[in-house]
Structures are given as structure tokens and as C-alpha cells.
């Protein structure tokens, strides 16, 4: 099993979620994060004080999937989350050694 973690632009969430569901993903977990990267931020000014804000709002999507689904999932995310503009985000794949569904105690692929 693999954990596919994608950092995407917030307004792409619904599209990505729908596309993933279509390829057989049954669940995922989303976190609001702030991203720093090549995409430039903006400046905020409060009376005299100027602050360069380089962290931008992003969403992190985590999907645990069986190894054989990984490529399809990466593909799906890449396609739907892409705007072509800088700051579209990244996908990272890490290994999962065990998985458990708390409600039933089912393990590994059955748990996803």
C-alpha cells in the first residue's frame, strides 16, 4: 500500500475528489496547509508595517491506496489539479506498512 500525498490549489479540491472517486478511491483526508515555493506571494501593509507574505494557502490531500492503483491516482491528480500556472503543487508517494479500519479492525487493503 502507498500513501499518495498531493499539495494542490484549494479551489481544485472538488474536481480532484470527484475524479479520484471515479477511479475507485473510496476515501481521502484533506488538510489546510500553507505552501512556500516558486510561486510568489504578496505584500500586506497595516498602517506603516509592511509584511511580505510568502506562504500561500494550499490543500494537502492524503490518499492511501493499494500499490497497483498508485499510478492511476497520480495520473488523475496531475490531470485534474493542473492549471498550468506556477504553484500547482506536488505529489509525493510514501510506503504504508500496515493499515487498519478502526470500526471493524479490518487490516491492510481491506481497510482502505
Amino acid at each position: 500500500m502507498k500513501l499518495v500525498t498531493a499539495i494542490i490549489k484549494p479551489f481544485k479540491l472538488d474536481e480532484v475528489r470527484d475524479a479520484l472517486t471515479a477511479v475507485g478511491v473510496h476515501g481521502l483526508t484533506v488538510t489546510e496547509v500553507k505552501g512556500y515555493g516558486r510561486q510568489k506571494g504578496h505584500t500586506e501593509i497595516y498602517r506603516g508595517a509592511e509584511y511580505a507574505v510568502s506562504f500561500l494557502p494550499k490543500l494537502k490531500i492524503e490518499v492511501a491506496v493499494s500499490a497497483k492503483l498508485v499510478d492511476k491516482v497520480i495520473d488523475t491528480i496531475t490531470t485534474t489539479a493542473k492549471t498550468g500556472q506556477i504553484g500547482d503543487g506536488k505529489i509525493f508517494v510514501t510506503p504504508i506498512e500496515q493499515a487498519v479500519r478502526i470500526r471493524t479492525g479490518e487490516t491492510d487493503e481491506d481497510a482502505l
Binding site: F11, D14, H42, T43, E44, I45, Y46
Partner: protein, 452 residues
């Protein structure tokens, strides 16, 4: 107080007295002319109008700012506060410069349509100047009359912001408001409230501004929504209100301020103001109940946003009627407004597909029309109102009311359309798609609403 007269003359007559004011010179202040015989203001009335002005001010800020601001996404919160606040500030100054003179004073060219230059820069007004009220011989200081009417002038264009919120350029919003207030508000106010104005002379009843303020703003917002087009993602993405708590606070303060708006339009602290006050309580309450009842039936749940939306609909509907109908008439009118506006905002608007972001037309426009027509009905003595003019039938009054509504819609609609086009030429109406995505706060104002 002679009620039949009250009903016949309605709000406009308050302005009759203005022309009688001696042109005392400000410079001449130390010698306030020989106006010994002139009536002096009753201090209770003066206090009442000071209070009413402050109350309407609270509708502008924080009232409408929070009501509207809570309904947009957090990335656009400040843009709404900023647009409403800045528009109001600019218009307050312009009211002193030329607004008051052209709106509520005698005109030389076409007095049925617009006033003249006699009061530019408030020329000739001193602390001793007075303005007439509904009652013969009862006056209030002219400065407080100017200030009270200033808040109406400043408030009305801020209502329109709801129609194009979350996508307009800041400069475009302010420029539009200035042009609209000048070209639309001023003549409509003159026609409705000034003694020589076309609609006033016709006998149209508008106690506190149903046509001038609400229908007028509603139609301008609708035109704006159509001209600017929908927000990105409208109908597909979640565009949920970012803080219904702010909307609640705003609605509550709008209601509180509306007592000044409606009962203050009586210009005097007497039983008529008390009637307008109680009507502004019960019509609003009935409208909230009306919306909630129909919403429970149609959607299965009564929502907080429904309750306050209904309340605003009720406030709008009772605005032209406040001092003219009885409490039971107000309850019926309010209840109706709640139901009709629910139906409009949830069904008709969706069917038509335009994006009036915060339902300015669906609430101010629709309830304004309902209230204006309803005033012609419930003002009748048989229905518990203070009575129509001598010899006037309900049918006749409703016809006159309808004329007022139609003129406001047609004139306001066409003029607004042209003004939007002009503004688009000068500064451009809409922000770029990227700015709209990121939010107006950071892009147009360089700040964020919350950093919690």
C-alpha cells in the same frame, strides 16, 4: 394630530417648509435676524432627530457592512466593508457639497424632477435655521434635517454593493456609487419627497423610502449583476457565507437602526413615530416568521440565514408603510414579504440564473415593490391604517403607488445600465480572474480580514 391629513400628506410634506426658511447668512450669525415670530424647534423633536440620524448611521456602519460581509467568502470580507464604508464617506461629503441642494430644495429648471443650487455647500444654513415637519408650526433644526437625509443618501448606494460583490474593482464600485447617487438617487428623492416633485404631487405614499431607497437600490443591483456576469464558480463551487455570525450582527443592527430610518421619517416625536416604531417591530417579526414557516415546509429546516433574511424583507416592506398602516396591517404586510421573498430568492432567482450575489433585488427590490403597493392598501382606514386622502379609494391609491414603482424601476434601471457602461469604459468594472480567485482583500486592499 389630525390623522387624515397625516395620511394624505405623508413624508413629502415634511420638506414643504424648507422653502420658507429665511436665507439668513452664516456670516451674520451674531445677529440671527428678526425671526421672532418663527417657530422654534421642540427639544424633544430635536433629540429624536439626532437619535434617528445616529441610528441610520449605524445601518451604514457597522450594519450593512457586517450583514453583507458575513455572506461573502472570507477572502472578500474586507472588500465589502471597504466598499460600503468608502462609498458612504464620499457621499456624506457630496451631500453637503451638492446633494442636499439638488435633492430637497427648490429647482429652477425642472422642479418636478430635480432641485436647484440654493443650498450648495449648505449655503445660508446656521444653527438657528429650521426645517418644517408634518405638523404646521412644528420645526426642527435644519442641520439635523440635513444630517438625517444625509444618512439616507449615504446608505442607499451601499445596498447596491451586494449585487456585484466579490468581483468588482474598488474604484469601479466607488465611481458607480457617486454617479448613481447623483443621477438616480437625487431625482427620485426629489420626485418622491419634494413638494413639487412629480410623484409627490401625484399623491404617491412613501413614508420612509420604499421607492427612493429600496426599489431603487434593488433594481440597480440587478442590473449590476447582469452587466458584470456571475462570479467564477457560481452554481458549481461552494460559495457559502463565511460568517453567519457577522450577518446576524449586521441584521440585528440594521433592524435597530431601521427604527431611526422609519420612525425618524416621522420627523417628530409623537404618536405617529410610536406607530412607526411598533410597526417596524411587528412587521419585521412577522416577516422572519413567514420566511421560516415556508422554509420549514419547503426545505424541512428553518435556517438562521432565513430568519434574518426574512427580517430584512419585512423591514423593507414596512418602510413605505411604517407610519401609515396599523400594527395588524403591518403584520400581514411583513408576513407576506417573508413568504414572497423566500420564494423569489430560492426559486425564481435560480430559474433565471443571474448572480445577484447577496440578493439585493430578491429582498430590497421585491419587498420594496410589495411594500409600496401594500401601503396603498393597508393605509386605508377600513384596514386599520391612518386613512387615505379624502375621496381616495384603495384602488386609486394602488394605481398611484404602481405608477411610482414603475417610474422608479424604469428610470433607475435604464440610468443604472448606462452608468455601469460608463464606469466600465473609465476604470473597468471587473477584477481579473486571478484576483477573483485569490480574493479582493489581498489584491485590492493589501490586507487580510483574519489572521487567527
Amino acid at each position: 394630530m389630525n390623522l387624515s391629513k397625516f395620511a394624505r400628506l405623508a413624508a413629502p410634506v415634511a420638506l414643504l417648509g424648507l422653502m420658507a426658511i429665511e436665507p439668513s447668512l452664516a456670516q451674520d450669525a451674531a445677529a440671527p435676524a428678526a425671526e421672532a415670530a418663527a417657530p422654534t424647534p421642540n427639544k424633544g423633536d430635536t433629540t429624536w432627530m439626532l437619535l434617528s440620524t445616529i441610528l441610520v448611521f449605524m445601518m451604514i456602519a457597522p450594519g450593512i457592512g457586517l450583514f453583507y460581509g458575513g455572506l461573502v467568502r472570507s477572502k472578500n470580507m474586507l472588500s465589502v466593508l471597504m466598499q460600503t464604508f468608502t462609498i458612504a464617506c464620499v457621499l456624506m461629503v457630496l451631500w453637503v457639497v451638492y446633494g442636499y441642494s439638488f435633492a430637497l430644495n427648490a429647482g429652477t429648471v425642472a422642479d418636478w424632477f430635480v432641485g436647484g443650487t440654493s443650498r450648495l455647500f449648505l449655503a445660508g444654513i446656521t444653527p438657528d435655521s429650521t426645517a418644517a415637519t408634518f405638523t404646521d408650526g412644528v420645526v426642527i433644526p435644519e442641520y439635523v434635517f440635513v444630517a438625517f437625509q444625509m444618512t439616507f443618501f449615504a446608505l442607499t448606494p451601499t445596498l447596491i454593493v451586494g449585487g456585484f460583490a466579490e468581483r468588482i474593482k474598488f474604484s469601479a464600485a466607488v465611481l458607480f456609487a457617486v454617479l448613481w447617487a447623483t443621477i438616480v438617487y437625487i431625482p427620485v428623492a426629489h420626485m418622491v419627497w419634494y413638494s413639487e416633485g412629480y410623484l409627490f404631487a401625484l399623491g404617491a405614499l412613501d413614508f420612509a423610502g420604499g421607492t427612493v431607497v429600496h426599489i431603487n437600490a434593488g433594481i440597480a443591483a440587478l442590473v449590476g449583476a447582469l452587466v458584470l456576469g456571475p462570479r467564477i464558480g457560481y452554481g458549481r463551487e461552494v460559495l457559502a457565507p463565511h460568517s453567519l455570525v457577522m450577518t446576524y450582527i449586521g441584521a440585528a443592527l440594521l433592524w435597530a437602526g431601521w427604527f431611526g430610518f422609519n420612525a425618524g421619517s416621522n420627523l417628530e416625536a409623537n404618536g405617529g413615530a410610536a406607530l412607526a416604531l411598533i410597526n417596524t417591530l411587528v412587521a419585521t417579526a412577522a416577516a422572519a416568521i413567514g420566511w421560516l414557516a415556508i422554509e420549514s415546509i419547503a426545505k424541512g429546516k428553518a435556517s438562521m440565514l432565513g430568519a434574518v433574511s426574512g427580517a430584512i424583507a419585512g423591514l423593507v416592506a414596512v418602510t413605505p408603510a411604517a407610519g401609515l398602516v396599523g400594527p395588524i396591517g403591518a403584520i400581514v404586510l411583513g408576513g407576506l414579504a417573508g413568504v414572497v421573498c423566500f420564494f423569489f430568492c430560492t426559486t425564481i432567482k435560480n430559474a433565471l440564473g443571474y448572480d445577484d450575489s447577496l440578493d439585493v433585488f430578491g429582498i430590497h427590490g421585491v419587498a420594496g415593490i410589495l411594500g409600496s403597493i401594500g401601503t396603498g392598501i393597508f393605509a386605508a382606514a377600513e384596514l386599520g391604517g391612518v386613512g387615505l386622502a379624502d375621496g381616495m379609494t384603495i384602488g386609486g391609491q394602488v394605481y398611484i403607488q404602481t405608477v411610482g414603482v414603475v417610474i422608479t424601476i424604469v428610470y433607475g434601471g435604464i440610468a443604472s445600465f448606462i452608468i455601469y457602461k460608463i464606469v466600465d469604459l473609465i476604470v473597468g468594472l471587473r477584477v481579473s480572474a486571478e484576483t477573483e480567485r485569490e480574493g479582493l482583500d489581498v489584491n485590492s486592499h493589501g490586507e487580510r480580514a483574519y489572521s487567527i
